[in-house]
Subunit: 335 residues, 2 copies
Amino acid sequence: MQMADADSRPTLADVAARAGVSKSLVSLVMRDEPGAGAETRRRVLKAADELGYHPDSRARLLRSGRSRLLGVVFGIQHAFHVDLVTALYTAARDSGYELALSAVTPDRDETEATTGLLQDRCEALIMLGPQTPAHALARLTTRLPVVVLARGVRGADVIRTADADGLHLAVDHLGRLGHQRIAHIDGGRAPGAADRRRGYREAMDASGLSRHVQIVAGGLTEQAGTTAARALLDQSHPPTAITVFNDRCATGVLDVLLRGGKRVPEDVSVVGYDDSHLARLAHINLTTVAQDVHTMTKLAVARAIERIEGADVAHRTIVVPPQLVIRGTTGPATT
Amino acid sequence: MQMADADSRPTLADVAARAGVSKSLVSLVMRDEPGAGAETRRRVLKAADELGYHPDSRARLLRSGRSRLLGVVFGIQHAFHVDLVTALYTAARDSGYELALSAVTPDRDETEATTGLLQDRCEALIMLGPQTPAHALARLTTRLPVVVLARGVRGADVIRTADADGLHLAVDHLGRLGHQRIAHIDGGRAPGAADRRRGYREAMDASGLSRHVQIVAGGLTEQAGTTAARALLDQSHPPTAITVFNDRCATGVLDVLLRGGKRVPEDVSVVGYDDSHLARLAHINLTTVAQDVHTMTKLAVARAIERIEGADVAHRTIVVPPQLVIRGTTGPATT
DNA sequence: CCGTTTTCCTGGAACGTTCCATAAGTCGAG
DNA sequence: CTCGACTTATGGAACGTTCCAGGAAAACGG
């Protein structure tokens, strides 16, 4: 009859046989649900313990139709994504859901990363700064709830920072320090770059500095920062302050300045974006616009779970205010 | 009849109904097994695509008793781990196994990361520079195959770089450039640090530079690098060359040197370790000891699969030779 | 003492796959 | 033709759970 094989794990049926009850009853007891007598309950637990029984989560999940899994698609090379994932773990900790990570690498695109998560039957997807075109995202949302972080897109739930406001903060700060020739090194087509460019322009206009507006093509990497910085320094009237698309790019800028014999912030002020761990390092000590990672991830998890549990309202965009973190790379204008 | 519910995901049966074939046949096609005609195969794939069907891995592995999952435990904050994970995806690509990522964060320790993977029924674990004590690792290996990357430990399969050799390469290179006062900023208790310290000592001895041996406490971060570098520069006779535990720490060192008015490599040469993407950046351009990420990850995946498929030999350590990558931070000694 | 509720328990049908046994058709050889 | 061998397809039994409908026995209220 029912024999617990030596090589295969014991099942509900094995425990039931040993305790002399039905499978259903054992199932109840294991889940700590009411409906079993005190004495029987003890007997079942004893039998389970003796057999070294552990419920098989795959079968459990299969039957109950739930995986309690939140899929996360992220770029493992992006410092800021790493910060977000770290915070997501914390945010998900007490929600009753687990995180399933799927990385985008130079050799593994977003489609592949997403497919993997779908096979794991994640109940919702949290995508960090996805590059997937809007229509493909829209198609995804018909299959399962999708929360997009750090990129604005129609047809999905979005949590993002008020990037334009972020550049207002940066420009205003520099303006108060007396800077006029404030340049911006942008992020090209990266998520958020357009908003930051717009914010920069608006803020310059609002401060009456329209004629000093100067936008240089940058990118997400140190490399992009060095190239852009060199271009700026080669001018006859280089800027006295630079706002940069993100921290990583800003470290490239800093490096060029230092090597070019410019002092920071005495000769040139620099403001980054993200407040990634890079910016906090004592020797970089970068003034930067902080995205509220804690709030964003908390909201993302909450939103995903709301969707899973049936909230069926229209997709909503939540915009989180940024905050300026003043450190050592900004100072009074001297020119 | 069989209707694809709007709210529930499509199953094999749905695809079968739409393509006008049996569930079994669809199953074959999805697994890319022989036994289906070319025309039918196409029809099935089309139907699956139209429905947006994705196989349910839980049901799949419940039935087959396998998960075909390799669990990866890694520190998401470590640049080098990120490089390794990236390469692991590539290495696993054609093996028939998938990767399940579980990150260690400041808020989520290795035990937690490991437990998660065990519940997912991974068939083997690949652990990157784990801090878990040896006896706990040993207990793990009784439950499933464990491959340890970038850390030497008894009682498990280990793939690591010949770290001592790495420092031989670095010191010899500096020696040939005429350097004598070559210091080492170490990695404390980090995996590999002890070997690198030893390699440094041996190489100095072998070059007849024993009396110039100087080891300063460092660590894995930029922060640690800055502290150590300051300590070195404060000396009456500062070294003309520095070997550093890893690239990240080395960037901290570089920063202190630049700010202190030292030119690199004219005044001081610096050698890093790992050849992480950090080192390759044009403006850092760090001479460094490269770990052969490609080979290491390939071996790790192969080893894990061998174990899964029953190889029951003793645990083995595979040591991969490092390679010196000469870039711009090393030059002839001038003192 | 009879109905009604409550408590404790059981059997069997799902969940979405894979795997096995088998069948129908095709083809070439004897 | 008939036989076997191959190819292509099918139906149904697992896998280890949970969930649902129900049933027997005990408890309760009148």
